[in-house]
Assembly symmetry: C2
Homo-oligomer: 276 residues x 2
């Protein structure tokens, strides 16, 4: 184990599977000098339809795993985990930990003019009610319309990013948003930005689409700045800048990740997450 300066340590990003790569991509874009570790729990994906208790248990194991990696901050790149487990577990983590729900809520309130916000999410994220809670902490007068969209994740994972089936599913799920004249929609699951064009097409140009990844990364930068933890461009190179870990087949993940990130990622390492 090398003896890294605090600011040279990597940032960890984790998700139930592949969706968190859209957050990883945004961190790459905004903070290109950082070293990053990604974990995707591909052996137990999806999380969105599972219970709060199970999600907390899985998240504990992931945090135990990340503890072995000497990271300087953790980004919970999964809305379901952010909604169900973050409050419960954040005090047990020694480094800053940032979820996607709070920054997403903040961004939406900043954007809306009509004070009518729609939230697309997994069953778990919607059931947790955390988006409405955070939105109402900022502005209690905002009306929030939530809609669970369980089919979008499997459609995205099948690669049907631009496909009539996906369009039809999005059309159904967002009907209530159109009826309720909302002007801002939170893409409250990290898979959804991959079908942004389809959502845009269905909702039209007058609706603002919020990708929480953007504000999450901005929040991450603020925290790192405050604590003097930003990595500088001239920091010594101590290893590969990006490392990927998964709990199931690395090959399948590699293919999908390389498509999302638009570069060939290094070989992911498979770990036994149940052992943590």
């Amino acid at each position: 184990m090398t003896n890294l300066q605090e600011n040279e340590k990597p940032i960890a990003v984790f998700d139930s599977g592949l969706g968190g790569l859209t957050v990883f991509r945004e961190i790459l874009r905004q903070l290109p000098d950082e070293n990053l570790i990604y974990f995707g729990d591909t052996a137990r994906v999806p999380y969105g339809s599972k219970s709060r208790e199970t999600i907390i248990h899985y998240t504990e194991q992931i945090l135990n795993f990340l503890r072995t990696k000497e990271v300087k901050a953790i980004v919970v790149a999964c809305n379901t985990v952010s909604a169900y487990a973050l409050e419960e577990l954040k005090d047990r983590v020694e480094v800053p930990i940032i979820g996607v729900v709070k920054p997403g809520a903040y961004a939406a309130v900043k954007q809306t003019k009509t004070r009518r916000i729609g939230v697309m999410g997994t069953e778990g994220t919607v059931r947790s009610g955390l988006y409405p809670t955070y939105i109402h902490e900022i502005d209690p007068s905002v009306l929030v319309f939530q809609k669970p969209c369980p089919l979008i994740v499997p459609l995205v994972e099948e690669g049907l990013w631009d496909d009539p089936l996906t369009t039809e599913a999005v059309r159904r799920y967002t009907r209530v948003f159109r009826e309720e004249h909302i002007d801002t929609v939170i893409m409250g699951c990290t898979h959804y930005p991959l079908v942004r064009d389809t959502i845009r097409k269905v909702l039209g140009d007058d609706v603002t689409l919020v990708n929480p990844a953007y504000e999450t990364t901005a929040a991450l930068r603020r925290v790192l700045e405050e604590k003097g933890l930003l990595r500088t461009m001239d920091a010594p190179v101590t290893g590969p800048p990006y490392r990927f870990y998964v709990s199931d087949d690395p090959e399948k993940f590699k293919e999908f990740a390389s498509r999302v990130l638009r570069f060939e990622i290094p070989e992911p390492r498979k770990i036994d997450i149940e052992a943590y």
Copy 2:
């Protein structure tokens, strides 16, 4: 622990989640005097897109759990497990263990007249190649066309059993079957019989649909008969006839199971499957 006669012990049926209930339902129908235990691995569902290694690991844990239940036979009510893990693990089990793939292959060969069979299945089941292997063991001249149908499971789990989205997905997946003039299609995932009407509508009445659950139950009966293990109607009642175990939220499972089985099932028990 009661001291049960061998033939009074229950039969265990397990699956990655909910799909195996269609097999459970068939066993109820053909063997109404038996006591049954069902386990659904709802915390880690689905299995169909995961790797062989992971499926074998999960199946080992399930078999360890079932070992604590004193069962007289085990039915693997999951095509992916039958395809990936059954050969590997069957010798470690002390009681008869029956999968759905072999009986399904047998039924299809018996039905086909044109010797052209289609197989719908998960990615894992298709990748394993086990349906073609078994079919060719019986009749090497049969042509087998396999098609992975990954979206059907989430569509079924969303309750869209009779829905244009499901019809469109089935239409795409079965296009190759229509082009290749197959006369028999194996519903090679235990979820598929729940959308049998949709598959029937798309494929037309001239195609025979094989539900492996039927032949699997017939095979189960033969094994129990041979070993003198059939429970008789006048066997003493030693407890509830059906018990359900899951690895995630029991309530959600109960609702779905009661819909599939058409009676209100007793409260499922949640167990920690990783501990086995």
